[in-house]
Subunit: 527 residues, 2 copies
């Protein structure tokens, strides 16, 4: 009976944003995960209030005319931007939450130029902010005060691609979508994909250890980045640009630069292992009665779908209710009955008929065993797109519903939903707790939706959420980094000894602290 | 015609060492890769000649009776080993190439004990060697002089396993095979597998970033290790034992301890992501006319077999000739004609019939397109085992053939075989150049087989091989690390700036240099 529904055709849904097939352009686009994870509205911070939480380091110099002349000598007039309008954009993050007051944007075209800039800035104690596509969510890519902005966008060449090994080498300023397009022609894909792909740069992706939509299948950048070139604060160029899958000659230092948000060095080139593009994609939308079933379904999916499983997303009934209420044209693909949890499963493989049969057999088994209470299997791209739209439309629905307090957490799977329930239990019913996320990655997007922002609600959420996450050895920032926003919250996820060693390494690599100051590490360490 | 052969049954071959199905025991077993990569006979070094290349650091203290008393207070009599026979084994590597003269072996049972030991040794300037299963090939796991041996074997508890996420947490002294057995019952596998699994310990695997047989499919430990606990030289315990797939809160310091061969800290606990066990394994043995076809076949295999490809090994005709000549009972599964290259392909997936059809279709296509000139598909475990035996029997055949100069290199795929041909061109024909390896990983095992060791031959090989590897941005140690053997050769694969930064980090984490001295980094840095 259920299996008939798997084969049913759902033509009533009309969205066409299925992420694997949509037409992206080079304008700034942002994924639901990115929008969904910002807490820009939570704390109601204005530009000024953010700035006042941090004091400008008085040891840093200010730009003078000699500096400008020097940079023009190195970069030419074109590489030295003082235009106010351009600076406003570069000083401001895309959420308009953080705003710096830099008077200078530099656009190097080569590693050598980056090296010359940093060597000079270091000698002059001029603080700098490395900037890629400026699509971050934690205030990591814009100045806090008057730091010099070094934008890598002019270093955007693909240097080599080996079709046998799938290894791509490129400059840091390459826009992710351009790399995806290039690889598509070669029959390969990038091991990471983000909604922000039209703007974000690979150097920024690597520097922030971007997670994105393919992590479940292809793992983190610590696994797929094979090599890096990075420039240290004193201008030293570190050539770690290996293109080898195996290399055990000494400490693998590239990992220091993956996820350190530009605070240890500026990534200038990247070597990355790209997987072959596979032709078969299947998508199913399922319902489960309880969270335990969701967990068990994931376990079964990993066993039965194993090598073809590429996404395992979940949302709860409050999340579904919100989407249905606030997003035009969205319908629940399942008959109008109340389910407690919904799961979106995607498989990606090389054989259409095999994969399809495999998924159908898995779904049938899941229904028979009672893990799944209802479900549909997309018959075409439009249907798949409509399923994804429910999941990806959640942040928009939340924004339309009123005020929203947003948290992006990694938690042990078995405890993840306990937090949601505990949160519900201690909040007034007018504050609705809505949960969704990448169950396959252990990544929960916890949202509290309320009619309006209210400090009393916030006081019941924070520090409770951070403390709960810490107690359960979770991460207070699953994929967005710490930046300025969470630099002082690092202790919720990292031990004092570990943070102390991070600081020692920061001091070792950047003794004057010029690289992306005020970010990542707590300000108390520097005082 | 060819396809008929795919289905042919090869019952004439009688080996039963197929690695996925053989019965391992806890005695020391070593893979062909490990044996195949040692150059212990190349340089003809004796124990004494190895030791004389390094001077004992005069700043290190020597053990006295007070030290022994202190350690007995911490560890009890049982944890303090001074027995001569036990010390001989712990002082000697398994190849009997390196031998130290330590008078003391400590066996801590907890992280706290490791911490107390190191804190004390650091304050007393007593050098230490962390030791796991002592299965390394580069002299990294035994003392050079009288360093205190800290063996982790007593810390062998599995701490937790989450069947939904597949995340295993265990102590560093767990023997790899025990973890594999434990996971097998749970329906999971370790993401790494080594011939040395019966002895090697997970802490040692992580500390040496062991590659092994599953790297093509599951990537390196930098991707699959989710967290670590490590003890620094001064006794500080770094709790980085996260169990999360996503955690972007500060610098990911665990990577410093993956592959640094115990020279930055002692790994005491490991958290690792384990893949589900898949039921379907297929193996084919193919012939190609030229190296370009091997490369193209790999490209096609990655595209067509994509998610199920789990091994892609190659050997050249000289390698095949050697195996057939020197190993009893081995036959070429292909008819007796001369092929230039042989390829072993393995797939691992979740659906027997789908995977089989997929592989058969791929093989048919490869034959039709001319990439493959002949081939067989194993019909059962014994046949698969016989194919693997050809590949894995190579080191044994080489040993039987006479003197052998061995190199374990990572090289860009497109250039890998150029080195073999250049090597052949400049050597006298009595020195036979034999090539095989993990083509899918870009890992070449280059062997020069000669009637006897001859300095004239060696002079034509070294430093040529290292220089050629360096010029082509390869690695002089694909998976075995540098240890004592290659510490002074690091510059062939790493830039001076990178090595300098490694040294700075070593000084930062271990200012007295007590952790695994004389290893990994060049002695010139310490003088």
């Amino acid at each position: 009976m259920i299996m008939e529904r798997w084969r049913a055709t759902y033509r009533l849904l009309k969205y066409s944003t299925f992420r694997s097939f949509s037409n992206y352009n080079n304008s700034r686009t942002f994924s639901s995960e990115r929008i969904g994870s910002t807490s820009c509205r939570i704390q109601g911070r204005s530009f000024s209030s953010v700035a006042t939480t941090v004091q400008r380091n008085p040891l840093f110099s200010s730009i003078n005319s000699d500096d400008i002349s020097y940079f023009k000598d190195i970069l030419g007039d074109r590489g030295v931007v003082q235009d106010e309008l351009a600076l406003v954009a570069a000083n401001t993050d895309w959420m308009h939450k953080y705003k710096g007051s830099s008077k200078l944007l530099l656009q190097p075209r080569s590693t050598e130029e980056v090296s010359q800039i940093l060597k000079y800035c270091n000698s002059r104690s001029l603080a700098v902010v490395p900037q890629g596509g400026n699509t971050g969510l934690v205030g990591g890519s814009v100045p806090v005060f008057d730091e010099v902005i070094i934008n890598l966008g002019s270093m955007n060449k693909i240097l080599s691609f080996d079709k046998v090994s799938g290894i791509l080498v490129c400059e840091a300023g390459c826009i992710l979508e351009n790399l995806i397009t290039f690889l598509d022609i070669q029959g390969f894909i990038m091991p990471l994909d983000l909604g922000a792909k039209g703007s974000c740069q690979i150097g920024g992706n690597v520097s922030t250890n971007a997670g994105g939509l393919r992590l479940l299948r292809y793992g983190s950048l610590h696994g797929s980045v094979l090599g890096l070139e990075a420039v240290l604060a004193n201008g030293t160029v570190l050539d770690m640009l290996g293109t080898l899958r195996k290399d055990n000659t000494g400490y693998d230092l590239k990992h220091l630069f993956i996820g350190s948000e530009g605070s240890l060095g500026i990534v200038t080139k990247v070597s990355i292992l790209t997987p072959p593009k596979l032709s078969s994609v299947n998508t199913a939308f399922l319902a489960c009665n309880d969270y335990a079933s969701c967990q068990n379904l994931l376990l079964e999916a990993k066993k039965k779908l194993g090598e073809i499983l590429s996404a395992f997303e979940f949302l709860d009934s409050d999340a579904m209710g919100l989407v249905l209420k606030h997003l035009d044209g969205v319908r629940n693909p399942l008959p109008p009955s109340v389910h407690n949890f919904y799961i979106l499963i995607e498989t990606t493989g090389s054989n259409e008929s095999f994969d399809r049969e495999n998924l159908e057999a898995f779904l049938l088994h899941s229904v028979e065993s009672g893990l799944v209470t209802d479900g549909v299997l997309a018959q075409d791209i439009n249907q798949a797109s409509s399923f994804w739209h429910i999941r990806e439309g959640l942040p928009e629905a939340l924004m339309k519903a009123g005020a929203v307090y947003k948290y992006d957490l990694s938690l042990p799977l078995e405890k993840m939903y306990d937090l949601v329930e505990e949160m519900r239990a201690q909040l007034d019913p007018k504050a609705k707790v809505v949960a969704y996320g990448h169950l396959g990655d252990g990544n929960l997007h916890l949202n509290i939706s309320a009619p309006e922002y209210d400090d009393k609600i916030l006081a019941k959420i924070e520090p409770f959420v951070y403390e709960w996450t810490s107690k359960n050895r979770g991460s207070i920032s699953a994929e967005h980094g710490l930046g300025l926003m969470k630099a002082n919250k690092i202790h919720y996820s990292k031990s004092p000894e570990t943070v102390q060693l991070m600081f020692s390494i920061k001091k070792l690599l950047d003794p004057n602290g010029i690289l992306n100051p005020y970010k990542v590490l707590p300000s108390t360490l520097f005082s």
